[in-house]
């Protein structure tokens, strides 16, 4: 396993279709060495060469934290996206080498919890799979409530049911009744924690049910999977320190445009969650289009900060402190 610029070159050992849209990739070290350790809920970033730049797509690890002989990721094919997932589906074969970053965890289990409740939808199950693996050595009870669009999308859920039995509640559209998040969260013992990962509408429903039932923020955890980073309209901005002008194309993020121009800046999640890329806005003639979960409402309306990994701008001029 060679490392360059802090990334890992891994061999694709296996590719399986688990739903009509999702392929599971098993990645190993070409030398057979163990991979860097990780905890449940971690993700890696896969570097995908595109025509003239590199896409960096984050994917949750779904293998066991207790077995670092391989990593597994699940890639949902997003036809309307920027081509990263399609490229992984169509161009990557077993035996190929791909470049990934070492694992980072922005969705960890809470060690003090007395009950873990997982709410997942579709491909949002991926971080939960490694979290459940981590819980195998724990005596703390858990429940997984997992909604999918129908029987043909249920394979990962059925694998989990086979492993964890009645702790897994599967909601297949057209087969089981709809998931009712309010009932799942009602009358739970003190020390319960909820973890939500899925489409925005599901996460927003979980956040609002939790709030209505009096759950405090310290017990509510979520991870959004963006539809491979928010695209939008093209715009340009200026790096305050070098004066360089950066053009952001419709399918690029500000962060990717900065990287494509040969500059680097700090980042971790590339999904607007971790706060690493928070950048000061020095000048602004126009509007910032915030789509992150990091800045508070006050920060967002202040027009002084931006998260370049997801947010964009509609502006005549934008200068950021970079």
């Amino acid at each position: 396993m060679s490392q360059n610029n802090g990334t890992l070159n891994l061999r694709v050992a296996r590719i399986e279709s688990v739903t009509p849209e999702i392929k599971r990739f098993t990645l190993v070290s070409p030398t057979g060495a163990h991979l860097p350790a990780f905890s449940g809920g971690s993700h890696i970033v896969v570097l995908i060469a595109n025509q003239n730049n590199t896409l960096r797509n984050p994917y949750s690890l779904l293998s066991s934290p207790y077995d670092t002989s391989s990593y597994q990721i699940a890639v949902r094919r997003v036809e309307s996206g920027r081509g990263g997932s399609v490229s992984l589906h169509d161009n990557v074969n077993e035996g190929d080498l791909i470049e990934v970053t070492p694992p980072v965890n922005l969705f960890p289990l809470i060690k003090q919890a007395r009950l873990h409740l997982f709410i997942a939808g579709g491909v949002g199950i991926t971080p939960v799979i490694s979290q459940l693996e981590e819980l195998r050595l724990s005596k703390v009870p858990f429940e997984l409530h997992y909604a999918v669009r129908g029987e043909e999308h249920a394979q990962l859920g059925k694998e989990l049911q086979a492993t964890y039995g009645e702790q897994v509640h599967l909601y297949r559209k057209g087969i089981e009744s709809r998931m009712e998040i309010g009932r799942i969260l009602a009358d739970r013992p003190l020390g319960s924690h909820v973890y939500a990962c899925g489409p925005d509408s599901m996460i927003d429903a979980a956040l609002s049910c939790a709030r209505d039932l009096g759950w405090t923020d310290s017990h509510v955890h979520f991870e959004r999977f963006l539809e491979q980073s928010s695209g939008g309209e093209a715009f340009s901005f200026t790096l305050g320190r070098s004066g360089a002008t950066i053009d952001v194309s419709p399918d690029q993020t500000m962060l990717e445009a900065v990287e494509a121009a040969g500059y680097s800046m700090p980042y971790l999640c590339r999904g607007g969650a971790c706060g690493h890329c928070e950048t000061e806005v020095l000048e602004l003639d126009g509007e910032l289009l915030h789509t992150d979960d990091w800045l508070c409402d006050e920060d967002k309306s202040s027009r002084k900060k931006i998260m370049p990994c997801v947010s964009r701008a509609k502006c005549n001029r934008l200068v950021i402190d970079l």
Partner: protein, 200 residues
């Protein structure tokens, strides 16, 4: 060994209604009753169940039971000792649901012991408030004999558990709900640190 200047003593809050709670448990002891009454008046009109726990054990002899009884709409459980209250708190939290908010008022020893229970149930900073009342006399834990001494006011004192002369460090353990004390002349036998009154 660092004795003074360790910033581990909890910074206490002022009780005020916590937003979003579906049930409120207000537990206090002795002079903490004053903060309980203030909180109750701030909560007037709140359409959520409130449970009051009050212990009449008090270092200074202050008792707010009569005033607390002026709120017949809230269940009031009275205890003769702090320990009895804390035992009931444990039972209450064991049956409670998410959405509960806990408010504590009283001596540092009481707050520390109640927080041990709250922490056991994984109640976090956004679910619990603690207001200190009275003096800051310390509960001290002897590292040598594992005994606790209440109401210590002197930097150097003799441990009732093992008889050693101890020096009280400004090192507060939330897990033990006590300050740590160690043998005072461990480095050079017979050489004791200066006696001083603790910042009570």
């Amino acid at each position: 060994m660092l004795i003074t200047g360790i910033k581990s003593r909890p910074v206490y809050d002022q009780l005020q209604p916590l937003p979003g709670g579906t049930r409120h448990i207000i537990a206090g002891q002795g002079s903490g009753g004053r903060a309980m009454l203030r909180l109750l008046s701030d909560m007037a009109g709140l359409d959520r169940p409130i449970t009051l726990l009050y212990s009449q054990e008090s270092f200074s002899g202050q008792d707010f039971l009569a005033q607390l009884q002026q709120y017949p709409e809230h269940a009031l459980h009275v205890h003769a000792s702090n320990q009895a209250l804390i035992d009931e708190l444990k039972t209450l939290l064991g049956d409670a649901h998410m959405g509960t908010r806990l408010y504590l008022a009283g001596s540092e020893s009481f707050l520390g012991s109640a927080m041990q229970v709250a922490t056991h149930f994984d109640l976090n900073h956004d679910e619990v408030l603690r207001e200190h009342s009275g003096t800051l006399v310390r509960r001290v834990w002897c590292v040598h004999c594992d005994s606790y001494t209440e109401n210590v006011t002197q930097r150097v004192y003799d441990c009732p558990g093992c008889g050693l002369t101890l020096v009280v460090r400004d090192h507060y353990s939330r897990r033990l709900a006590a300050f740590q004390a160690v043998k005072a002349d461990a480095e050079v036998p017979g050489e004791l640190p200066e006696a001083e009154e603790l910042d009570t």
